[in-house]
């Protein structure tokens, strides 16, 4: 679904030149949940910006599906961002004078859908992220975890093919982190979305199928973490998954 072939990205030149990505090749198949980790300055966010065609590679090509992004006009790129990509950011980027329903419906309204048509989809994703009871609340009336749920609903409302998430739990505590990641995982599975997520938090990355680590613009590790334990493992034991209740 997302493919990088020998991508190099250089910012600046001369003494201020920064090689953000060096000959990076990466293939993220459809419906994979791929986490990108690495120290700051390793090129993680550049990967997301390139997929969204917000910046162009210095050399190499990036494909979304089978379309090379270099052949896209600005207008096509803007349409692709609006219709095919959902964005989730660390600081939510919600509009504070709009309520949850309006925030979530916004990408559809911007794309010319009527409010009536948008409403049905909006309700569906708000239900999916368990926020339907807060539909008329403004972001400032919600907790950090709820704001991020609203942002996830907004990212999913257009039924995008790809979700790009940049430190989606960077601002949340441990309990909210797990809740958000479970939702993102479940939402992306239910809607068949490919996820590319930048994170510094291994707990967050552990919700993925795959962890790619970048150091200085190169992939140094590519780890398969997709193995899923199931309840069947413990089959045969009475109360198999019941944890003991300790005092």
């Amino acid at each position: 679904m997302i493919r990088f072939t020998n991508v190099t990205k250089i910012f600046g030149e001369g003494p201020t030149q920064v090689d953000a990505l060096r000959d990076l090749s990466l293939d993220v198949p459809a419906r994979q949940f791929c986490a990108i980790m690495g120290p700051s300055g390793s090129g993680k966010s550049t990967v997301l910006h390139l997929v969204a065609a917000l910046t162009k590679p210095t050399t190499g090509e990036i494909y979304l599906g089978d379309r090379p992004l270099s052949r896209m006009t600005e207008r096509d790129a803007a349409l692709m961002r609006r219709r095919e990509i959902g964005f989730i950011f660390q600081f939510f980027h919600l509009i504070h004078y709009l309520d949850a329903e309006e925030n979530v419906a916004l990408p559809l309204l911007l794309d010319g859908h009527s409010f009536g048509a948008a409403r049905e989809r909006t309700e569906r994703v708000l239900t999916l992220v368990d926020l339907i009871h807060r539909r008329h609340h403004k972001p400032t009336e919600l907790s950090g975890g709820e704001m991020q749920r609203m942002a996830i609903a907004r990212a999913l409302v257009t039924s995008p093919r790809v979700i790009l998430a940049d430190e989606p739990t960077g601002n949340l505590d441990s309990t909210a982190t797990h809740a958000i990641m479970r939702l993102l995982r479940r939402g992306s599975e239910e809607l068949d979305v490919t996820v590319l997520m930048v994170t510094h938090d291994p707990v967050c990355a552990s919700y993925g199928d795959r962890v790619v680590r970048l150091v200085d613009g190169r992939i140094v590790e590519d780890i398969d973490v997709s193995e899923r334990p199931t309840l069947e493992e413990d089959e045969g034991a009475e109360g198999a998954v019941k944890l003991p209740r300790m005092r």
């Binding site: 707990v203 962890v211 140094v220 045969g236 998954v241």
Partner: protein, 198 residues
């Protein structure tokens, strides 16, 4: 885990079951609680059960099952409960021993000449931690979706597990950063990065 801790963990698990518990159930519960981080094999479990029974802390009764071998069901005794209560309130004596894992020991003896190989070891260790963490995360999701997340102790233990792995991984990041600084090459690895399956 020291013998004492294993012993009291098993005793604690038995104490939580008024109907008694057999070996297989105890093993399953132990694995559900600690399985991602500590392993207790059947041999150790049955040795522990023997020891607890000889000390009079538990008593086992044979339970016959039609068509299958009989099994022993263990219940806690009054003196077992007393011993467990005493142990629970004993001030902690556990001392952390950071130099117990083999990577730490290897780092002590690896020389600069082997930095590339050391970097590979660090990265392999990270892959193992991440895979373990992913298994723990998925198990947590399975449990929570099955509605078994209501025990605050379970929740606290899971948070502790997260914090420990985060700390271990942060330390590996530091080791990697220092090694890279010494070699001056970001990709100073002896092998290319290819998808590493379990």
């Amino acid at each position: 885990m020291s013998t004492d801790v294993v012993q009291y963990t098993v005793l604690g698990l038995i104490s939580a079951r008024t109907q008694g518990a057999h070996g297989y159930q105890l093993k399953t519960e132990f694995d559900a609680l600690y399985g991602e981080f500590w392993s207790l094999n059947y041999g150790q479990l049955y040795r522990t059960l023997d020891r607890l029974e000889r000390a009079g802390f538990i008593e086992g009764t044979e339970q016959f099952q039609s068509g299958r071998p009989s099994r022993k069901v263990y219940r806690i005794t009054a003196s077992g409960r007393q011993s467990l209560d005493d142990w629970l309130l004993l001030p902690p004596t556990y001392e952390p021993r950071p130099l117990r894992d083999d990577l730490s020991v290897k780092l002590l003896f690896l020389t600069d000449a082997k930095q590339t190989e050391t970097l590979d070891l660090v990265r392999d260790q990270r892959a193992i931690y991440l895979q373990r963490l992913a298994r723990l995360t998925k198990r947590r999701s399975v449990l929570e979706e099955a509605g078994h997340d209501d025990s605050f102790v379970t929740r606290l233990l899971l948070v502790q597990a997260d914090m420990r792995v985060r700390a271990d991984l942060a330390w590996l990041d530091l080791v990697e950063a220092e090694l890279l600084q010494r070699t001056g090459k970001p990709d100073a690895s002896s092998r290319p990065a290819s998808p590493r399956a379990r």
